[in-house]
């Protein structure tokens, strides 16, 4: 029919225009249109359409044509095979194959689906389908789909995929997808008969350093005794890479836990370490900061352009809320108990109780959720396959930023200078005209405000509940005591050490025992360095 129309059209162009031109022109246009429509898929048509009728046959015919379609790499085969897999492909009695909606798979036109019946699958067909779809996705325009296809081939691995993968690797522009394809190629070459390629594949799999590659190599070792040494070398390489990656991930988790501890302990390092005021309500200031974050988030929820920035906005809010609470506590209560640390401890514990209960009454006892903004979600892949969750990364950054801020405030500001003066010698500072009472209040508010900022970070990784603070107070004190009272460097080192040690111990001992071990270790450690770690400065020093 196509040839007929072309001859007719061509003929019409060759003759002088007859009087019934209009009619002839219509015919001509029709013919040209048909030609265009049919010429487009003309190149692949032979193989693609030739493979289609097999789908209407018996199970073995179906499987064969599925495999053919898979090898062709024709994008039109994708919907056909997907429909087949989903059980929505239909066939007619005369051997045509219909896509869902009654579209003829060969022509792409609507066809009469009345007498059609669903093409059924058996296990052989299903297996063929998986392989074919996997291969077809290698030519998909979507990079994620190509990557998934490479992974699927890696898992299925058959020698037939070698040329397909080689072609795909040559075309691939995305480095990540290409790496996956190279791995899949190596896996396929491992089962291919080519000895030379097999050896190269063993080496390549070893260099890739993936856990899946390790299992693959061990499997291949049984069937290729002559390559055992080469495989062993590769497996050892993988093991090394994996243990380095694990160590890096543990280190990261430890650092992120450490920065949470650092944030919680920094405020304590100011109020306890510098002022010598033992504040058991410190954990509740962290809790107040977390609730401030929650309130800011709720307030921003109504404004779409503001909502993603509620978290940065809550940092100053949390600081101010906790600092105000701290200033009131210091001026109202704590200053009457200076020089009586045990009483201060008990009194502030009571204040913590009251704060907890007040928040419980105001917000309810259930957990409140603070949602991470989109730019903090997700996982980051560092080189070497180290997976890093973004919000924990941000917490590390935040912790360091707050530390620098605190150091700067103490070193370089007028307030910091007065604070150090009052700590070193209260009376002389007073004679120099420093209002020591005001400095006390400000210092305490400063330390409390830092606790509030810690609350912003904690809200990202923990439930926001009224008793959130109790979980952090003991750890924070341990950090300050371990690192050295009154030393910010000590606090930094102490927090990071405790965080990392906790995470290193966790896989061996479990989270709870790790904590117990750390507590015991600290108790033993201060046996050796009691003065170094308990070197008290400031008002609480023993006379």
């Amino acid at each position: 029919m196509r040839t007929g129309a072309a001859e007719h059209g061509g003929g019409a162009g060759g003759f002088p225009a007859p009087p019934f031109l209009k009619v002839d022109m219509r015919q001509l246009l029709l013919a040209l249109g048909l030609m265009l429509w049919l010429a487009l898929p003309a190149r692949a048509q032979d193989a693609f359409t030739a493979a289609l009728p097999g789908l209407a046959g018996g199970f073995s015919d179906i499987a064969t044509s599925v495999e053919q379609l898979g090898v062709l790499g024709d994008p039109r085969a994708l919907p056909v095979l997907r429909a087949l897999q989903e059980g929505r492909l239909q066939r007619t009695a005369d051997g045509r194959v219909l896509l869902p909606g009654g579209i003829d798979a060969a022509t792409g036109q609507a066809a009469d689906a009345a007498a059609a019946e669903t093409v059924r699958l058996n296990n052989r067909v299903r297996q063929a389908l998986r392989g074919a779809l996997g291969r077809l996705q290698l030519v998909s325009p979507d990079a994620a789909e190509r990557g998934a296809a490479a992974e699927a081939i890696f898992r299925a691995r058959s020698a037939e995929d070698v040329p397909l993968l080689q072609a795909a690797i040559a075309r691939e522009a995305d480095a990540g997808v290409r790496a996956k394809m190279v791995l899949a190629l190596a896996a396929a070459q491992l089962v291919a008969p080519d000895e030379e390629a097999k050896r190269a594949a063993v080496a390549r799999l070893g260099a890739a350093g993936a856990a899946e590659a390790r299992a693959l190599l061990l499997e291949a070792r049984a069937s290729n005794p002559d390559m055992a040494t080469a495989i062993d070398v590769s497996v050892a390489t993988i093991d090394r890479a994996l243990s380095i990656r694990r160590a890096a991930e543990t280190l990261f988790q430890g650092l992120s836990l450490g920065s949470v501890l650092l944030l919680a302990a920094l405020g304590l390092a100011v109020t306890f370490g510098v002022m010598g005021v033992i504040n058991m309500a410190h954990g509740e200031f962290v809790m107040l900061g977390a609730y401030a974050t929650f309130v800011v988030q709720e307030a921003c929820r109504g404004t779409p352009w503001l909502a993603p920035w509620s978290l940065p906005l809550s940092v100053p809010a949390a600081f101010l809320v906790a600092a105000a609470a701290g200033a009131v506590l210091e001026r109202g209560l704590i200053r009457h108990l200076y020089g009586r640390p045990l009483e201060t401890l008990l009194m502030t514990f009571g204040v913590g109780m009251i704060l907890q209960q007040a928040v419980r009454v105001a917000f309810g006892a259930q957990n409140r959720e603070v949602i991470s903004p989109a730019w903090m979600q997700g996982t980051l892949m560092l080189p070497g396959g180290v997976a890093v969750t973004q919000n924990r990364l941000w917490i590390i950054v935040f912790g360091i930023a707050v530390l620098l801020l605190v150091v700067a405030a103490i070193r370089f500001t007028r307030f910091g200078l007065e604070m150090r003066a009052v700590v070193q010698n209260r009376r002389i500072a007073a004679t120099m005209g420093i209002r020591t009472g005001r400095v006390d209040a400000l210092t305490f508010a400063f330390g409390s405000g830092i606790a509030g900022m810690a609350g912003v970070a904690v809200s990202q990784i923990d439930n926001v509940s009224p008793n959130l603070g109790t979980g952090y107070i003991i750890d924070s004190f341990m950090v300050v005591v371990f690192g050295g009272v009154g030393s910010l460097t000590g606090t930094l080192v102490g927090a990071l050490t405790l965080g990392v040690v906790n995470k290193v111990l966790e896989p061996y001992a479990g989270a709870v025992l790790a904590k117990v071990f750390v507590l015991v270790a600290i108790m033993l450690f201060i046996q050796r360095r009691p003065r170094g770690l308990f070197a008290l400065k400031g008002r609480a020093a023993e006379s």
Partner: protein, 349 residues
């Protein structure tokens, strides 16, 4: 002198409670089961308060971990009570407690051996807290950890124990702890006779602890302890072995607390890791602070009055209790440094 009379009167009234409980319900002097069981509980609390007062009020050791010693004593007797359940458990295993059957234990862990004997359990209720206090105290006092540092370390101790006891594979029933006890020394626990016996045992313990504490505090040892409390360095320079004195009083205090826990658990019928929570320990400290530390009677007064307030408030206005407790911490430290006893003695003068 009047104080002693009041004390004797109070003990006599307490001693009469179980007898009054036996009176018929329509009698005007009848005391309900609730009062007897709650008074029995408070007596064990008072013993805990005495123990804390001995360490804090006299030797200046503010332990925020005495709840741990109390709970350890409770666990010791709890293990005995679990062994006594025998085949009456849900799973009917002749030896293993229900939770062990549930967790797939095949035989008793070694540290459960011996707990089928009551004297051994009571001994352990004293020894385990005593040894723990000895080790912690030795390490802490030797390196001259004092004041708030010791408080924080003891708080960390009870916190760590709480975390550890929450674990199922510790072999102490994990989260649920021990409960559903049946009998003790052949007495079914849910009878008036058992309640009365436990009540009198607690009262005896209280009197015994009071006697020991007053002997200790009135001896030369007690005066050295006060000296250490008020000026530790000076006491050391005068040639007293501060570490040993503190260690002695800390261990004694822990053992008393352990015994209190051992009598507490059969009366309340349950022990779980929540008893280790730092909040419990610090609440016990505030009993002593409210009553008046440094006086043994003050500790008792505080334990009874704060717990009476707690029982009343948690039934009348549960939300208010934590405000009230927090308020007590603030008010006592700021306005009543000598506690309720301080009020009385000021009034007497």
């Amino acid at each position: 002198m009047t104080l002693r009379l009041v004390l004797i009167g109070a003990v006599l009234v307490l001693a009469a409670l179980p007898a009054l409980n036996r009176l018929p319900a329509e009698n005007a002097l009848h005391v309900s089961d609730f009062i007897v069981s709650i008074a029995g509980k408070w007596i064990t609390y008072a013993v805990l308060a005495l123990a804390i007062d001995l360490a804090w009020g006299y030797a200046g050791i503010l332990s925020l971990g005495h709840g741990a010693f109390f709970a350890l004593g409770g666990y010791a007797i709890g293990m005995h009570l679990m062994r006594l359940i025998g085949p009456r458990g849900v799973y009917g295993h002749p030896v293993l407690p229900d939770f062990m059957v549930f967790l797939g234990y095949k035989e008793l862990p070694w540290y459960w051996l011996g707990f089928d004997h009551f004297p051994f359990a009571i001994l352990m209720a004293m020894l385990v807290p005593g040894v723990l206090a000895g080790v912690v105290g030795y390490l802490a006092f030797r390196s001259r950890i004092t004041g708030v540092y010791l408080s924080i370390i003891t708080q960390a101790l009870t916190y760590a124990l709480m975390l550890a006891f929450f674990r199922n594979d510790m072999g102490f029933g994990g989260n649920n702890g021990f409960t559903d006890f049946k009998e003790l020394l052949g007495m079914p626990l849910n009878t008036a006779a058992a309640r009365g016996a436990l009540f009198y045992a607690s009262l005896l313990l209280l009197l015994g602890a009071l006697w020991i504490c007053s002997r200790v505090t009135r001896s030369k040892l007690g005066r050295v302890l006060v000296a250490i409390r008020d000026a530790e360095s000076r006491a050391r320079f005068l040639g007293y072995d501060v570490t040993q004195h503190k260690l002695f009083v800390f261990v004694l205090s822990a053992m008393i607390a352990g015994l209190a826990g051992a009598l507490y658990v059969p009366q309340v019928g349950i022990i779980n890791p929540g008893e280790f929570s730092p909040g419990n320990s610090i609440e016990a400290v505030i009993w002593v602070a409210v009553g008046g530390r440094g006086t043994l009677v003050g500790a008792l007064l505080g334990a009874f009055s704060v717990n009476a307030l707690k029982t009343w408030l948690t039934t009348v206005a549960p939300d208010l209790w934590l405000f009230a407790l927090g308020g007590l911490f603030v008010a006592v430290t700021l306005f009543l440094p000598r506690g309720l006893i301080g009020l009385f003695s000021r009034a007497q003068r």
